[in-house]
Amino acid sequence: MKHTFLGVAFAAALAVPAFAQDYTIMAPANPGGGWDGTARAMQEVMQAEGIAPSVEVINVPGAGGTVGLAQFVADSAGDPTKLIVGGYVMVGAILTNASPVTLADVTPIARLTGDTQAIVVPAASDIQTLGDLVEKLKADPGAVSWAGGSAGGTDHITVGLLAKAAGVDPTKINYVAFSGGGEAMAAILGNQVTAGVSSVGEFAEQVKAGTMRLLAVSSAERMPGIDAPTIKEAGFDVVVQNWRMIAAAPGLSDEQKAKVAADIEKLNASAGWTSMLETKGWANTYLAGAAFDTQLAADIATTETVLRDIGLVK
């Protein structure tokens, strides 16, 4: 048993810097996901660039981040050293889970990165364009099965928005939720479903290898290096970004908030962050201050409408 204990103590000692924490970042998800990755990338760059002498990451997984969010609000109020990573998925999860704690209970600081959504079909499919796919959807919404991540998540919302833009009843869409990107991709590659939705990055290698056909991306402009039209260009007014953000604790003074915002701005401006984003393949979608607040409010409103349309929020 001693071995066990030493082993774990060793693992913990390696992973967690000893003390003098300037920031504690909560990743409201299990290790390995996007939010955890964002938190750990911030940890590394903030320490390396000397923005904070010591940064600790803690994971509180559960229910699309709402478990972590509730704990963060309860435990961290008024503490300027506490940060939480969040994102678009959280917006949906707060609504579908009827979470008592919302993003209005924290102090959003900045949007940091974001993924664009992609709509694909298996290479063997006879569907060539987004137009073809929407034709099928209009003819019989149930006959078009969509593979994607969890119900009410960004993938589901994307399909709902597309259906709405195409004039199809969003409650009729046949969205098949898979747990984890791997299972959904396997279903698309194995020709089990009509189409699939996930981030562009998830599908990029498959598209390159010719096992999937990329029909459209959800960004406002065409993406460099990606040979596909935007959903907007294809004629449907849908723009979705699966963004990730950083927020501070509730109940901060203006000075405290400004200090955190300044540190995050320093992070964003650093060379380390730029190269980190490049390694990870994340787009820099930094947006802070009043502009972010406006965008956040707009995203929450759109999401609530589409989740009501799909029938996930009553």
């Binding site: 992973a15 509180v60 149930g142 990029a204 290698e205 290898a209 996930l312």
Partner: protein, 504 residues
């Protein structure tokens, strides 16, 4: 021949002294966290990921490989000795393994687990190296309806874990299925049986339930025993395996490997399902049915081989398609990305050197595990000579620490204690605890696959038997239920007893 020379090249890289040291660190850490109930290989790799930024790709990959295989292996040690599975894939190991330990045969049980893991890891890694592209094609052709059929088969065969009474076993299974309903429904996002508690939204954590039922329940049971502490566990026989043990183990290892590898490589398979199916197979095929439930060595050898082979199988979709199908695989994917690798269908072509380096690392880690663990068996079983109050005090401490470490919330701790009391109650009244955990694992899988299949087919039930694979799996399941009934009706009870053991 090309793959072979690439593999040799990979081995050459992996055999450098520094790389071997990384492998050792990985294997030791992996075994350690595997032993600790609640903390799995996924969490460890995630914690160690930042540390490996500074290492070269070969060094960090081999460390991951060591942790991964070590974690799969380490779970068996506590299952066998202390009836406390560290991972969900070691649950069935506890059934026979712990009975062996109680009879003083903890040494052979640990040895067959270690050697079985080694044999399975070796064969499965070689299969991964040479057959991955073919296996993955097969795995991809399976969809929700085939997975549902596989789950049905698993449910039917799982009765092997029921112990002596079918009624009690079914009761336990249904408790597990009921617990499985808790949480957000994956397909509609609706919360079920959460009573407004946010921590219940993601359902009941399998490890929490397993650790509570097995470890806490066991500790409470021991504490409640009156009279002088008995010395049930003490090692009486030899520590190493006898000729008879070898004879009974080797077929089980091979069968476990060939069950584990394909199931691990299926995107919706998993090491736990593989270990259940292997246990059921061994129980059906054994020449010693009377020993099952009372310490049959095949019941340890098969599942332990199966879960290690499944761990290697998981790497098939990861390396050939870039599909992470388990939490650990997802984190290893993140590890690849930090070296600028994009796992995908082209990985074998664009980064052949690294892929073969990883495969070579797995082989090395596998050898290192058996080298590390066989001599340690003597040390591990000394655990059992720790006075019981201390030993179970320690188990309680580690079980709690492990659970809190993964999910730091008072509600999780409350569940651990509640389920622990439930486990004690079940023990007291002779209800087996393994089927509860099995129900919690298989229930949601079966439900989601069924609903996905029906959703894709727009509610047409015929879809479930519309492919050869699903039709065959379902037919086998039906036969497994019907044939014993027919045999019984025909008055051939003796045959039945020989086939089914003592399941009534």
């Amino acid at each position: 021949m090309d793959s072979f020379s690439l593999l040799l090249q990979g081995l050459e890289t992996a055999l450098q002294p520094m790389i071997l040291l990384y492998a050792l660190v990985g294997v030791v850490l992996g075994t350690a966290v595997g032993v600790l109930p609640g903390i799995g290989p996924a969490l460890t790799v995630a914690l160690l990921l930042p540390v490996t930024y500074g290492l070269d790709p070969a060094g960090s990959l081999i460390m991951f490989a060591g942790i991964y295989y070590g974690g799969m292996y380490g779970g068996s040690t506590t299952s066998i000795l202390l009836n406390t599975p560290g991972e969900s894939a070691s649950i069935v190991t506890a059934i026979e393994g712990n009975q062996m330990a109680r009879q003083g045969r903890g040494g052979p049980a640990l040895a067959t687990a270690a050697i079985g893991s080694f044999v399975a890891g070796l064969i499965a890694t070689l299969l991964l190296a040479f057959l991955a592209p073919q296996v993955v094609k097969l795995a991809l052709s399976l969809g929700p309806r085939e997975y549902f059929a596989l789950m049905v088969l698993a449910f039917v065969t799982v009765s092997a874990t029921f112990g002596d009474s079918t009624l009690r076993g079914l009761t336990s299974l249904f408790i597990g299925l009921a617990l499985a309903c808790v949480g957000i429904d994956g397909l509609t996002g609706a919360a079920r049986l959460t009573f407004g508690v946010p921590q219940l939204m993601d359902g009941i954590e399998t490890t929490t339930l397993a650790v509570a039922l097995f470890a806490i329940g066991e500790a409470l049971g021991v504490a409640a025993m009156t009279g002088p502490a008995d010395r049930l566990h003490r090692v009486t026989g030899r520590v190493s395996m006898t000729a008879q043990d070898w004879k009974r183990s080797w077929k089980a290892w091979l069968r476990g490997t060939f069950i584990g590898f394909p199931i691990g490589s299926m995107p919706a398979g998993g090491a736990d399902v593989a270990s259940f199916l292997s246990y059921a197979t061994e129980r059906k095929l054994t020449k010693h049915p009377e020993e099952f439930g009372h310490g049959a060595i095949e019941g340890v050898a098969g599942p332990e081989a199966a879960n290690n082979a499944a761990a290697a199988g998981t790497l098939v979709p990861l390396l050939t398609l870039g599909l992470p199908t388990t939490a650990t695989a997802a984190i290893m994917l993140a590890g690849f990305q930090q070296f600028g690798l994009q796992p995908g269908p082209l990985l074998f072509i664009t980064n052949a050197e690294l892929v073969w380096g990883l495969i070579a690392s797995l082989l090395i880690a596998n050898v290192m595990l058996v080298v590390l663990n066989l001599p340690l068996i003597g040390l591990w079983i000394k655990l059992l000579s720790i006075p019981r109050p201390w030993l179970y005090g320690g188990i309680l401490l580690f079980a709690t620490l492990g659970t809190i470490g993964v999910n730091p919330s008072p509600i999780e701790l409350g569940m651990l204690i509640l389920f622990g009391l439930m486990g004690y109650g079940m023990r007291l009244y002779g209800y087996p605890v393994a089927p509860v955990v099995v129900g919690l694992i298989l229930g949601p899988m079966a439900e989601q696959q069924l609903r996905r299949a029906l959703s894709i087919a727009q509610g047409d039930w015929q879809t479930l038997v519309s492919t050869p694979v699903s039709a065959i799996l379902l037919t086998v399941s039906v036969l497994l239920i019907v044939v014993p009934m027919v045999l019984r009706l025909m008055g051939r009870g003796k045959v039945l007893a020989a086939v089914a053991g003592d399941t009534d």
